[in-house]
Each structure stands twice: as structure tokens, then as C-alpha cells.
Amino acid sequence: MTATTQPTERELGRARRRKEDARLITGRTRWTDNISLPGMLYMAVVRSPLAHAKITGINTDAAKALPGVLGVFTAADLGAEGISLPCAWQITPDMKSPKAPPLAVDTVHFAGEGVAVVVTRDAASAEDAVEAVQVEYDPLEPVLDMEAALADGATLVHPDLGTNRNALWVFDSAEAGSGGDVEQAIRDAEIVVKRRFRQQRLIPAFMEPRSVVVDPTGEQLTMWSATQVPHILKTMASLTLGMPEHKVRVIAPDVGGGFGGKLQVTPEEALALLVARRMGKPVKWTETRSESLLAAHHGRDQIQDITIAARRDGTVTGLKVELIADMGAYLRLVTPGIPILGAFMFNSIYKFPAYRFASTNVFTTKTPTDAYRGAGRPEATFAIERIMDELAAELGRDPMELREQNWIKHEEFPFTTVAGLTYDSGNYEAATAKARELFDYDGLRAEQRRRREADDPVQLGIGISTYTEMCGLAPSRVLGALSYGAGGWEHASIRMLASGKVEVVTGVSPHGQGHETAWSQIIADRLGVPFEDVEVLHGDTQISSKGLDTYGSRSLAVGGVAAVKAADKVIEKARKVAAHMLECSEADLDFIQGKFTIKGTNRGVTIQEVTLAAFTSHNFPEGMEPSLDSDYTFDPENFSFPHGTHLCAAEVDTETGWVTIQQYVCVDDVGTVVNPLIVEGQVQGGLAQGIAQALFEEAIYDEGGNLVTGTLADYLVPSAADLPHFTTDRTETPATTNPLGVKGVGEAGTIASTPAVVNAVLDAVRHLGVTNIDMPCAPQRVWRAVQAARGAAKSTSEHTTETAAGGGLGSIDAQGGTQ
């Protein structure tokens, strides 16, 4: 019999420390690169140093002659010329899709693309061998500028497609019947504001570089990978590499971050599989940080032309969004769909009567883009929150007041937007009121006035972002309507063990989010068992046989709900058994805190006792299957819509261009909260990543198409030392579309913070005449904008910005002397 006592404290809402942290923080766990198998070989990739070139020769003799080298393979050697890495999203029927082999065939299309692989006995030899492979190239013109790429006569990235345009995807509220005609709205408008914003290219820069180990020596081939998507990887590996699906097992062991960057089926995963099969031995590939920055997919990279129409009284009447989005050189798993994920979010929380969105997707000779934290929604939120500030400035209105005038009021929910989505719940007034209180909005406005009047060299600005986002990807029927190649359901199983302990198997795949803790809390509450008695299993397709993995803030809102529904099935089965044990009818039983009790008595059995009875099955209800274990596959009826109000006070040193975030307040409404500590961590990390786009990070290519931000000395990921204290708070408006009332929090901070910061920077210097500063708002950019506005700047065209590094690591050449 079990010695377990039933818990009395509710787990939901409890700020538990994460049970997985000890092993993750100390590294005493299994990361993919920690895995070492008998006879394991090492693979490394020879990468193109050119953005666009014909391969005229590959000489592998010198590399093959090195000690420890077992093979050097090109695409042809591996029979990989005909393989194309999967893209799961055919966004339009006429979308152009280039062949995407795992190694370049004849032509390289971006700097960093694989040309060959080396296979060696040890990791050091692999790096020596990579250097010894001689590849000859005949350079072609790189295709770097998106607008030039669309012009007639442009050099084509993939000549066989006949164009650099991947697709044009349009949503028009007049055509969809969800609103009016935006061109008419613009014609009729009393005021029209048009702006061009640039979403710079970003690099996900997850902490653990990508790594894969493939063991071909069992009946099932086993692939360990630092991936967010083991289930998708298994299916796609089978479909694209000709492996019967039941002969593949994929394991995502502990994974050190992803941010969408590991939502991918990578060339290297395919290559490791092909090489392992050929060699008949386990093979490992682990990328260097430099490779990760260069060749793992990038994010964002859009030109946004935004037109907003309004009445003089501030009522918005129309929104037109014209995007040009950089696909990079190839379509990866969901590359072309990333702008589409933003298409329904540009109208945000505002009641636009007319809306049109058009995204022109373009190929360039740069690293492919794909999902990066927020994926489409940060881009949308930035554009709408920036243009609302521009409209406020044009109208001479307070930007918060303008937002209040136009947003959906709390009593108007559920609200169907001009983009056709139905927001189930929300309370923008409440979140904003709380944020204003924490921020001292009026006091800061007074301080801003004082500094302006004194012509203080350090000016103060206030930036607002009242955002919403769509989470919980996704109702399968919606994905179907968007021509996505899979559904959006999620699966869970509950296994009741003989001793009363519980295993929860989830189809989502955590890589730092804390699912093991959160799912344990949810299920402990539901089944009335102690938190410590719940184990959460994930990431191994032999254990978690069914799932669609983790991205798009979907894990809790879809996967967590699946686990709850599986637990409810367990309870229903247990109720039958308990009634049998207590010789009463099911209807006479209450189930409270893990115990079935006959109403009005103290006679009862615990869930653990029922579980043991199911295990022994000595005396089981007639005709009932002797098991309590249950599965559930949950398909959400709608997205969830977190929202919130972020307020940023930023100081701009007009003498240097330096931006200091003086204060940052956010009030997020992510619905019901399972674990406030985990939510806080997600919000803080998200803020850091969104602020990084506003102030620090940018993937820069030189005119030859080479990535010049190829180390973390040049690609500026901020640390805690670069960020302010965050004042965070929440309102809780439960989602009405799932039984937990949860909405998702993985991306909120990133989505909301970028425009809050940029709006603050501009608000600080707008009175000087500055109307736009491209991201990141680096000191030189800010200083030049101020100089230009003051008319005091020398012509900036005198100073071409070269991308050569100055001092520091990047400038050390082969002769670089060091002591």
C-alpha cells in the first residue's frame, strides 16, 4: 500500500521553483553534445565563404590524407542531390519553391551553406579536415537588397524559378467580408499617415548550439537532436529521406533554448543521418558558435510600409500593410509563413473598419529566415504601435489617449476583428490603469516637459505598447485554411503506476520553459496527488509517441489542456472503480483532493487505492478494461489572446546618442497563471529579447554578402548588465476557450517591448525634429538623427559605413599577435 498522503494546498498559482533547474543549471544532464556512443564518429561541415557562386571543383585529397579522416562527402557522394529539405507551408498555390538540398549542388546560395562534410574519428581531426578541403568557386553576383531583387533584370537567386519573388500573400477585409475597402478608407480619410519601418535581421542565438547524434545500429535508427520539434523531425526525416516512419526514433534530450531557432529540420540533421547510414556507425555533429550565427536560420528582416487612415478626432478608419519579407536563400520548415503569422495582428487591439495586408516574399543570397520568438507577431506589433504614435504626433494627441479611443472595450468581448479573428476575452483598460499607476505616467510627462524647456542634453521620452498577440497554435481547421501542412492539436497521456505515482507524457517539447514543473502542478491538482508524485515525460518519440512540439506559446494552452483532459478521463475511470470498491453508485461519489467519498459519509478511497486496485485487477468492475491510463488529443477551438500594456521611459543623451532605459513597467494579461515564478521568468527573458531588437542586435551583411556579425563580439546580445530593472505585474482575464483559462506567455515580452522602447527613444527627440530611427537604436544612429534634425550634421554621405571591425576580436587577422 502507498504511504502517500493527499495534498491540501492548491498547486495552480503556486510560485514553485522549477524542479528541472538543478540539472539544467549544473549541466549534470544529457545535452546532445554530452552523448558519446561506442565507435561514434564526428562530422563537420565545409561551408561556403561566398554568398553566391558556382562550385567549379572540390578537391578532397589533402583532407582524406589527414590522420583520423574516414571520409569526405559531397552531395553527390551521399546521393543527396535529389533530396529537398521540407517546407511545410505552401502559402499560395503558385508559391515558388527552390530545391533545398542539404549540401549545395553546383551553386552556393548563401555564405555558410554546406558544400561538403568530413567524417573523422575525433572532433579535433574534423576541424583540421574542414580546413584541408579545397573548394574552387566562380563568384556570381550576390542578391542582397530585397527591393533590387524584385526589380526587372535582377540577378536571380534560383534562375529556374524565373523570379526572386517567392509569393504574394494578401488578406483584404473587403474581399473577406470582415470589413471595408481600405483604399476607399484612405480616400475618405481626414488624415493619412504613411511610414516605412525596417525590421532588421536577427539571429536567435540560443544558448546551446545545435547538435545531433545519429545511431544507425538498431532496428530503429535513433536520432538525438537539440531540437524544439522531435515529432515533426521524425515525420519529416521519414518523408524527405526515405526512412519508413516506424524505423525512426527521435529524441530531444534536455535542450538549451531555441526561441524558434530550433523549430527546424536542418540540413545537418539530414546529413548526420545520411552519413551514419553510410558509415554504419553512430555519428555526431555539433556546431560552433560561429557556425550557429552564420548558418542556423535567422529571423525578422522585413520592410514594412504602413498606411493608417483616421478622422481628425482620432478615430482610425483604415490600415494598409505592405511588407517585403526576406526568405533568404531557401525555404525552411515554415519560412514563407512567418509574415502570415503576423497578418492577423497588425490591427491589434484597435477597431479598424478596413484592413489590407500584403506580403511580398523575396529570395536573397542570405541565410534562410524562419521562426524567431514571436514569429510574425513582433513585426506586426512593432508596426502598429509605432504608427499609432506617429498618428498621435500628427494629430497632436497624447498617444495613450489615442489608443484608448480606438481599442476594444472590455464589455465588447468576444470581439471579431477586421482580420477575422475572434478575441475571446481581454481588459485593456484594467492592464493600462495598473501600468500607469506603477509608472507615474503624469509625473514623467512633467519631467519630460521640464527637460525640454531647459534644453537638457539628456532628454526623456515615454514609449507605449498596448499589444495583443495570438497564442496557442492552433486550431487545426484554421491551419488548414491557411494551407499549412499539419494540424495544431496536442496529445497527452496519463499513466497511473501501481504505487500511486503518476507519469504524464506530453507531446510538447520543452527546451527551457519549465514544463516539467508546470505540468506536475496542473496534474497534481487535478488528480489530487502530491506534486512530487508526478513525473513529466517528453521529447522521446518512443515514450511520447504523438505530439506537435513546442513553439508559438502553444505548450500550455494546447498541450497543458490535453494533459488536463487526459487526467479527467483517468478520474472518470477511477470513479467507476471506486464505486465498485465502495459498493455505491458513481453518482454518490464526490472526488475532492484525490479522494472519492460517498456523499454525506466519511467512507472513501483515495486515487492511489483505486490505482492499486486497477493494477491488481483482482476485483474489477464487470466488463471494464483493467486500467486507468488515459490519452487525450486536444484541438483548440480558437487561439488565445494575451495582451498587456508596456511603458518605457528612456533617456537619450543627445551629445552621444546613448539610450538609457530609465524605467520599464509592464502589466501583462496572460490569463490564468499556473506558476507565477515561471511566468515572471518568461516575461523578463522576453523583455530582454525584445529590447535587444530595439537597441542592440542586428545581423549585418557586407556588400559581398558575408555576415560580419559572426561572433558574439559583434552580434550584441545584451546581458543583465545592459538592461534595467523591470517592474512587472499582471491582470488576470481568463481565456474562455480552454478549461484552464490560460493564454500563453512565451513570447509576450518580446512582442511588446520592442516598440515601447523605440517609441520612447523617438518621444525623447521628436521635439528636435526626429521622426524615425532604424533599429537597433545604436548610439551613432541616434546621434546622427539628432544632428540631421538640428541641421548641424555634416552630410552623412561623406561617411560610408564600412563593416570592417575596429579593435577587438574581429580585427585580429592570422598575424594577430597576442601575449
Binding site: A124, D714, D722, G806, G808, Q819
Partner: protein, 286 residues
């Protein structure tokens, strides 16, 4: 991220180190704190055949008082420089600049001598060495010689130290009672300086009696801002004087262009940061 193969020796005396360097020829590199060399090796930007590790030579660590100068062993770590009472009292500028380097892990490994011989123009210890009139003591097969900081930095990543020589100590004339400030301008906390200004000022009765100012990353080697110094000496220590003197900061510089700053912006920063550095060193609010 695995270096090319190399041989490795770890001598316990300076003589042994010089012997090892002489035998290895031009392909040897000295390993001090490794905070620049190890990344360079891992990125395969350099592939020396021999590393001579100085970490076991205990005589190269520590700070001592030698009358009018303090003597800092070349292998003294940044952390020890920052916390050394002699340096804080007599060469505060060096401690202040060293505090801005990297992060605690880097400061526990990196060394003063290593940073100086690496001679990265964006490194933070070159300008203070110039501003403080430091002298570098170098030992090689030919014996021992002393080179003033003003002559030590030859070019980008190049110093007076020859391949078979070792920088053993840094001699810094005491500037007791001087005010000091290191004004650093960078993108993120762990980044290199875009521009930085090292300033040390001695005031007497409200006037600037002596001033030393040097600039980081305004040329291939640290720039001694003599024009600023001349404009300060003998003047009252006021914001106006300092602002006027700082107008000379970009004189004699040849700043490079990179993703963070074009030359005109660097020149502008040099003036603004000089004004702030000197004002702080003179005890005025910037």
C-alpha cells in the same frame, strides 16, 4: 572551435621562458591570461606551433612599492590590479580602467601584461599606461631593457616586445593624490570600447596643476592628448575651461571606421568623453 595542434611548455622562471621562445622561433606565442589568445586559437585566426605559458612563473605576479614608482608584475591579473591598495592609492586611473574590462571571470584570468602586449587599440589599459607615463621592462636573450609607454605601442597589435622577449613588469610613477577617471563608451557591457578617455588631474587651490589625458581606440595605438593637457594646465578647474580644453581631444587622432562608429562620430565622442573624463577627474560633476 578546436585550435590547430601546438606544443606547450610551462616554464617556472623568466630565463626558461626566454630559452623556450628562442628555441621555438617566430611561431611561438606567449600564453598569459589567455583572454585574447585562446579565442584567437579557437577561431583558428592564429595557429602558433608552440605556446609558452607564463602562469607558473610566480615572480611575474604582484605589486610592489619601489620609492617613487610602483612596480606591477606583468602576470598580475586584472582582479588583483583592481584590488591592490598601492595601485588604488598611487595609480587610481589604472584600477578604474581595469574595472571596466569584460566581466568577473575575465578579470580573474586576464593580466595587465597580456593586455598591454596584445595591444588591441580598443583595449582599455593602453591609454592609462600612456597617461600614467608607465615604463615597460622587457627581458630577452640580449638582457633587460626599459621602454616608455609612449614608445611601447608600435602599431595595431604590435609592441616593442620582440618574439623572443617577455614583458616582465610595468613601472608606474606614483601619482598620489591625483584625481582620475576612465570614461568608456561601448555598446554593451562586455564589448570593446568604441572610444574611451583616460584622465588624471592634479588640482592645486582650484586650478589644474598637472593633467594627463590619453585616448583609447582613436588610432592604431593609444593617443596622448597633449593639446588637451596644455589647454588645461594652469587654468581654473571649471566646467568652461574643461569644455574648451576638450575641444582639442581629436587632434592628432586617426580613428577607424567600423559598424559602431565612423571617424567623425569617433572624433565627436573623443571631445565629449574627454570633457566628461577630465571633469570627473577634477572632481566636478560631468
Amino acid at each position: 572551435m578546436i585550435p590547430s595542434a601546438f606544443d606547450y611548455v610551462a616554464p617556472t622562471t623568466v630565463d626558461e621562458a626566454i630559452q623556450a621562445l628562442s628555441q621555438a622561433g617566430d611561431d611561438a606565442k606567449i600564453l598569459a591570461g589567455g583572454q585574447s589568445l585562446v579565442p584567437v586559437l579557437r577561431l583558428r585566426l592564429a595557429a602558433p606551433t608552440m605556446l609558452v605559458d607564463l602562469n607558473k612563473i610566480s615572480e611575474l605576479r604582484g605589486v610592489r612599492d619601489d620609492g617613487n614608482v610602483i612596480v606591477v608584475g606583468a602576470m598580475t591579473t586584472h582582479h588583483d590590479v583592481i584590488n591592490d591598495p598601492l595601485i588604488r592609492e598611487h595609480a587610481a586611473l589604472l584600477a578604474l580602467a581595469t574595472q571596466t574590462i569584460g566581466d568577473p571571470q575575465i578579470r580573474h584570468r586576464g593580466t595587465l601584461g597580456g593586455a598591454l602586449v596584445h595591444a588591441d587599440p580598443a583595449g582599455d589599459l593602453l591609454a592609462p599606461a600612456v597617461a600614467l607615463d608607465a615604463e615597460m621592462v622587457i627581458v630577452g636573450p640580449g638582457g633587460r631593457r626599459t621602454v616608455p609607454a609612449s614608445e611601447f605601442f608600435v602599431d595595431l597589435f604590435t609592441t616593442a616586445v620582440q618574439p623572443d622577449e617577455v614583458l616582465i613588469e610595468i613601472r608606474i610613477p606614483k601619482k598620489t593624490g591625483w584625481g582620475a577617471h576612465y570614461e568608456k563608451f561601448q555598446r554593451v557591457a562586455q564589448a570593446w570600447s568604441i572610444v574611451a578617455v583616460a584622465a588624471a588631474v592634479r588640482t592645486e587651490g582650484g586650478s589644474i596643476a598637472e593633467a594627463r589625458v590619453a585616448l583609447t581606440n582613436m588610432a592604431a595605438t593609444p593617443v596622448h592628448a597633449t593639446g588637451v593637457e596644455q589647454a588645461l594646465v594652469g587654468q581654473p578647474a571649471t566646467a568652461e575651461t574643461i569644455r574648451a580644453a576638450a575641444e582639442h581631444a581629436a587632434e592628432g587622432t586617426s580613428p577607424m571606421s567600423d559598424g559602431n562608429a565612423d571617424p567623425d562620430y569617433r572624433e565627436h565622442l573623443a571631445r565629449v568623453l574627454t570633457q566628461r573624463a577630465v571633469a570627473s577627474a577634477a572632481g566636478l560633476a560631468a
